[in-house]
Amino acid sequence: MSDAILSFNRVSYCYPDGTAALNNCSVTIRRGTRTAVLGANGAGKTTMFLHLNGILRPTAGHVSWEKTPLDYSRATMRNLRSRVGMVFQNPDSQLFSASVQEDVSFGPMNLGLEKKIVRERVAAALAAVGMTETANKPVHNLSYGQKKRVCIAGVLAMQPEVLVLDEPMAGLDAAMQDELAAVLEQLHTSGMTIIIATHDLDFAYGWADEVIVLQSGQLLAQGAAEEILQDVKIQNELGAAPLVAEITRSLSLIGIDLRDKGYTPRTKTELLMAITAQSRQEATL
């Protein structure tokens, strides 16, 4: 693909204790896309993410940035880590400073930027996640959701081209999930490539452009979210299906095909709108 930003070419990784976490995995992430990585616990999602940022080095195969295989030199890693931002699952495991503003400044300071620029970036990153008012608050007084946002701000302040988030919705209530989804949407609109590991099939179906499904360290499928997540075989492997996809399919079985105009609803709102439109159409006839 011409616009591949990150790609795995037959990547395998084995942990020092002998666990084979990735096995001959080849995937491509395209620039500007929203990609959801799905799979059961232990499928290799986190290991894959640690390769995206150069923290882990494949035991076989290679990872490429814009089609150039990584050579894992100090300069390459510095460049890669400034372009690929990583947000881990547990905020308490990645917040270093007790002050919000200081923690967000950690990444840009590591890039060796001038203090004036760092200050501007910190302010912009906090504004992007709606945390400007907490800039001078201690991290330990924030809620779990706020800590997650600070983590995202800490990565955004490095102005990466790719944002990688490991289970960002885990532990958040519905309102916080909606707020985070809005932040992600805004970042996607600004042209950022976003990759998310999630167990939430409904979220993946509604949000992602592309989906990567991992199973026991191997690539089970990669493709358009709509296509992959409607595949009954994949649904069986994942042990679940997106609710909206299931309702759409069930409705089609009783003669109400919401997809007849070439448009498939992917979120609850889209589904409700499609059902309402269908009902109106039938009422008119």
Partner: protein, 248 residues
């Protein structure tokens, strides 16, 4: 937590940490330079009044925070003042209070009290992250500051983990008897040791992911009041030292 609460909510939270650090240092020098125990106690009273009235720390909270340190000070003073005198027989064993030693003991206690109130002034008006940035500007070794930063941050993470573990253990009768309590406590320590290991690994990975390759670097907070408050702190600090050193 009371110290933490005061440091973030006091009236002088936004005042330059350098100004507060200078005043605190002058307070310690003044306590040491005090010529008489009463003068040292006077310095302590001034520093206490500045903290309570100036920074707006409630007196009750101030005393609660100072209580453990005051207890240790009282215990130390007592052990210095009273000595055990052993005679020829067991019945000759007696506690002895030397009148001549009271003067230097009172002086030491006065100085300690002054030093305590000077440190409390800084601790109760300045969050530790600000103190760490101040120490960084004073060119303290990076390793020491990194340890302080991480210890301070993880203090809250682990206090939460301890609280959660105790709650989970209590819910399963983990502290019903003394034997069970000891076993639960041991289990918690073992569990926390593993957590420390995992979290340190996670922090290392997170630092690598954000391009860190050495010392932890953070943006220092800005304090626009510094040009005004630092000279003020220097003048009032020197005045305190002068009063302590030259007043009878």
């Amino acid at each position: 937590m009371l110290i933490e609460q005061s440091a973030y909510t006091n009236r002088w939270r936004r005042v330059s940490p350098a100004a507060k650090g200078i005043f605190s240092l002058c307070g310690m020098i003044a306590a040491y330079a005090a010529t008489a125990p009463a003068t040292a106690c006077g310095v302590a009273a001034i520093l206490c009044a500045v903290t309570v009235l100036g920074a707006g720390i409630p007196l009750g909270r101030y005393l609660r925070i100072a209580a453990p340190a005051l207890f240790f000070l009282a215990a130390s003073a007592l052990s210095l003042a009273v000595s055990l005198k052993i005679g020829n027989t067991v019945s000759a064993l007696s506690l002895h209070l030397s009148r001549a030693e009271l003067e230097p003991i009172a002086h030491v206690c006065g100085r300690s009290l002054g030093g305590l109130t000077a440190l409390l002034f800084l601790a109760l008006t300045t969050p530790l992250s600000d103190i760490i940035s101040l120490l960084r500007r004073c060119k303290l070794p990076d390793t020491l500051l990194d340890l302080m930063t991480l210890s301070y941050r993880t203090l809250f993470v682990f206090s939460e983990a301890v609280h959660e573990t105790i709650t989970a253990q209590s819910a399963r009768m983990g502290y019903a008897t003394i034997t069970l309590s000891l076993r639960s406590l041991g289990g918690m320590v073992a569990n926390l040791s593993v957590q420390v290991w995992h979290r340190s690994q996670a922090l290392h990975l997170a630092a690598l992911a954000r391009n860190n390759d050495g010392a932890l670097r953070f943006l220092e907070p800005e304090h626009p009041d510094a040009p005004r408050t630092i000279p003020l702190a220097v003048i009032s600090g020197f005045l305190l030292v002068f009063l302590a050193a030259f007043l009878p």
